[in-house]
């Protein structure tokens, strides 16, 4: 068995004295792990940093084997994120979420594209909004997508400002007003109505929304918590609110 693909490094774990087991999010093969001989060496370590884009060749005698990777660095992400704590947390959080949530060897080209777009957004100033969008995409990709197109109660498509924590559907201002303490806030930018203007409160509300459903649908059934970096990212963006 052999394939060549491009991908992003999600995690690199030491194996023995010199090798590493590397998990990649690849464009055609999904999340895929393999052994990298000499992965802990000075030369290879730099290429195996989380978020780096690499070209990988995976080889194994049988499909079910762990297999061995030959990895070549395409572009380094961490060098661009030095001194950018928010972006660094977003990168860690996204990588850890994919590592925790996406099943191995299940092709997910949509998620690959959205992950790639997220990393591309770190060059600009709207990376935090892109991150919230990305988490929404992640929920959709794993089968827990939110329906933000119309009100769950009345079916109207205007003035949607809440989300039901039970159904994951949008709720209009009028229908949700009596229950607003129990509903989650739907930030305007997630409806695509506020243009490029995204406030700190919008971002905090967006992360609260996606975080709630990630916890409820994905982590709670596995008796786990959201990754630390995700919690710290939400805290950091809330502080800037």
């Amino acid at each position: 068995m052999e394939w060549q693909d491009e991908g992003y490094v999600l995690a690199s774990r030491p194996h023995g004295e010199a090798a590493s087991i590397v998990s990649l999010l690849t464009s055609q093969n999904g999340r895929f792990s393999g052994l990298v001989h000499g992965g802990q060496s000075r030369r290879q370590r730099a290429a195996l940093q989380v978020g780096n884009k690499v070209t990988a060749v995976w080889r194994a005698r049988l499909d079910e084997h762990l297999g061995k990777y030959s990895i070549e660095l395409e572009s380094s992400t961490i060098a661009q994120l030095l001194g950018e704590p928010g972006k660094l947390l977003a990168l860690s959080s996204a990588s850890e979420l994919v590592e925790a949530v996406i099943p191995e060897r299940d092709p997910c080209p949509n998620l690959y594209r959205s992950f790639s777009a997220l990393l591309g957004s770190f060059d600009g100033e709207y990376w935090a909004a892109t991150y919230v969008y990305w988490e929404l995409h992640l929920l959709t990709d794993i089968g827990f997508g939110l329906d933000l197109s119309e009100c769950a109660g009345t079916g109207v498509t205007e003035d949607l400002v809440f989300v039901s924590p039970k159904s994951g559907k949008a709720v209009s201002r009028q229908a949700g007003e009596p229950y607003k303490d129990k509903l989650l806030t739907l930030p305007a930018f997630l409806k695509g109505t506020s243009g490029a203007q995204v406030s700190g409160k919008d971002l905090a509300d967006g992360l609260l929304l996606t975080g709630y459903f990630l916890q409820k649908c994905v982590f709670q059934p596995r008796q786990k918590k959201l990754p630390d970096s995700r919690v710290r990212l939400a805290g950091k963006l809330s502080m800037n609110n």
Binding site: R13, A46, G51, S76, P85, L88
Partner: protein, 199 residues
């Protein structure tokens, strides 16, 4: 298992040694009984009885506080924060730093399940309350986890009035640009500094 097999088995667990090299080392030790095996046994016994983690900085030494923490000639105003004891030894080899150290004992890593509570961060915050310290040098590794740890510590210490600095990243001494990876070059470009033409 006789004692020689046991020795080979234990030696094979050392980093860099497999069963074959462990047999060579064991034979060598047996041949050099008086000059190597006996002193090694004594040194190992001494170390196993007296080694401890420094209660102040987290370094390993036979005394607590360690030699570095007890050295009155060192600059108590500067505190260098490191991930591991091996990093402290690397810094000491340079002889360029004369301040004091704080070893975290790892770095934040959700993948490995290491959170702030697993690291020596609370003690660092306690140390920084000491008014003697005016500068914290964050010397964690340039990895995503290392950088995240550095930012976390910066957040924790933001309320204190100490100056927080980070080790520079860039072209290594003797390095040629042609052979550097893109990441290192990007980091070097970001950390560029003005050239001073004055003497």
């Amino acid at each position: 298992m006789n004692s020689i097999d046991k020795l080979i088995h234990l030696l094979a667990r050392l980093p860099g040694l497999g069963p074959r090299s462990a047999r060579r080392v064991a034979l060598f030790l047996i041949k050099k009984h008086e000059s190597l095996l006996v002193p090694l046994r004594e040194a190992l016994g001494e170390i196993s009885n007296s080694i401890k983690n420094c209660e102040v900085c987290g370094n390993v030494d036979t005394n607590s506080p360690c030699q570095i923490c007890c050295d009155a000639k060192r600059n108590s105003n500067q505190l260098c924060v490191l991930e591991e004891v091996a990093d402290l030894w690397a810094m000491e080899r340079t002889t360029a730093f004369k301040g004091r150290y704080h070893v975290l004992g790892g770095r934040l890593s959700a993948i490995d399940g290491i959170g702030p509570g697993d690291l020596n961060i609370e003690k660092l915050i306690e140390r920084v309350k000491d008014r003697e310290i005016t500068e914290i040098i964050l010397a964690t590794n340039l990895t995503v986890d290392g950088e995240t740890t550095a930012h976390y510590i910066t957040d924790c210490l933001s309320a204190s009035n100490v100056k927080i600095t980070r080790l520079a990243h860039g072209v290594p001494v003797g390095g040629e640009l042609d052979f550097l990876d893109d990441g290192t070059l990007t980091a070097a470009l970001k950390a560029r500094r003005q050239v001073n033409s004055q003497l």
